[in-house]
């Protein structure tokens, strides 16, 4: 999608992106010649379509993380578990394993951590006082 300032016959340049938090998206584009600004407003369905492609209007400021879309968009999904972390989880008694897994999962989710590794588990244990888990 591109924007053309018809009067100046100039391609307008991306200026700003806003995500109001209601599922909509606003992006402004400015004509480099006359300075005119237009805003593109997308409804939640259109915004979702852009998100589903794994791209960001205005460009990415940081590289995509592993399983970025799946982690953010799939319901009931939690952070990914590394093989080492899974192995460590198997040492937790089965009757509390689900609860422990949820604690680590919530810890990671609250901090935007997409993959639980033994190092993440160590940090969580120290911060949450989970010695022995």
């Amino acid at each position: 999608m591109k924007f053309l300032c018809v009067e100046c016959d100039q391609q307008m340049a991306f200026a700003e992106r806003q995500l109001p938090g209601d599922g909509t998206l606003a992006a402004t584009f400015k004509c480099p010649k006359c300075g005119r600004v237009v805003a593109m407003l997308t409804n939640p369905m259109e915004t979702q379509l852009v998100s589903s492609l794994g791209v960001e209007i205005g460009g990415r400021t940081v590289p995509a993380e592993r399983f970025e879309m799946v982690s953010a968009m799939v319901k009931t999904t939690g952070p990914a578990w590394s093989a080492d972390a899974q192995e460590r989880l198997t040492r937790v008694p089965t009757f509390v394993r689900g609860m422990v897994k949820k604690i680590y999962g919530d810890y990671a989710k609250e901090r935007g951590i997409t993959e639980i590794t033994p190092a993440v588990m160590d940090t969580a244990r120290a911060e949450l006082g989970l010695e022995g888990m």
Partner: protein, 268 residues
């Protein structure tokens, strides 16, 4: 007024570049995979996942143990995002960035690893008209299952596709080239007619058709779908799999796959 392609100033969003990065990521993760084979069918319930899992195990058993001489390193991507069954068939636990290791050492990645037991695949987002974006979401999820996993060096990566051709078409785009295809059918004429459409689509996209497996042979299901399709497309009927097949059947079946051409990974 100028048209879209006449506007050539650099775009700060760089959407084409972002897509390029995604494709490079997939190509990099699959660089060590010698052969990619899609197991598909135009019909549901013919046993694609069952065949895929047994094929993978059969090939992996030829390793003669971990790192054995002349063996095969095999992976399976469960591309049936809405009905993942490969984890159960290979008896693997949850995994993500690293593939899980299933029966006979087969590497496995599946959407089933991300979903809670018994829950369907659902996405956050507006519920109205979700058909508009859901397909794109599934394609992106498939791309992440391929490109965000350290597959490592594999002799063969089997892609277990759901019924129909949509996932196959998505794979062609994500991989940058059509994968070789192994087709599964049951003997009935109804299955033959549905599978024919899928094979035609694969042929038209440029996939090499490796052959046909006729599954569930010898019971109540009557017909000659395997022979009919083999003759029509000029491809081998690789095997007829009876109900309760012995492991020797799978070992025989695995042989043609080892002779499939090497997959080329086109530069994005």
């Amino acid at each position: 007024m100028r048209t879209y392609h006449q506007l050539t100033d650099p775009d700060r969003s760089g959407l084409a570049d972002q897509i390029g990065v995604q494709r490079r990521r997939v190509a990099e993760q699959l660089a060590g995979v010698k052969r990619i084979v899609a197991v598909m069918s135009g019909k549901g319930g013919v046993g694609k996942s069952y065949v895929t899992a047994h094929l993978a195990r059969s090939l992996a058993r030829r390793r003669g143990g971990e790192g054995g001489e002349g063996g095969r390193a095999v992976g399976v991507l469960d591309a049936d995002l809405n009905g993942p069954t490969i984890p159960a068939l290979l008896q693997v636990r949850a995994a993500a960035a690293q593939p899980a290791i299933g029966l006979d050492g087969v590497k496995c990645v599946s959407m089933g690893h991300f979903l809670a037991e018994g829950t369907p695949l659902e996405f956050h987002g507006p519920s109205a008209e979700s058909f508009v974006w859901r397909g794109a979401m599934e394609a992106s999820a498939l791309r992440e299952l391929l490109g965000d996993v350290a597959w490592g060096d594999l002799d063969l990566l089997l892609l277990d596709l759901p019924p129909g051709i949509q996932r196959y078409l998505e794979l062609c785009d994500i991989l940058g080239a059509p994968p070789a295809v192994l087709t599964v059918t049951i003997p009935t004429p109804e299955s033959r007619d549905a599978v024919r459409r899928a094979m035609r689509a694969a042929l038209e996209r440029g996939s090499e058709l490796l052959g046909i497996i006729e599954n569930m042979v010898g019971g109540e299901l009557r017909g000659s779908a395997g022979d009919d399709l083999a003759a029509e497309f000029g491809v081998p009927l690789v095997a007829r799999i009876p109900w309760h097949a012995a492991s020797e059947v799978w070992d025989t079946l695995a042989l043609p796959l080892t002779q499939a051409p090497r997959t080329t990974h086109p530069a994005p």
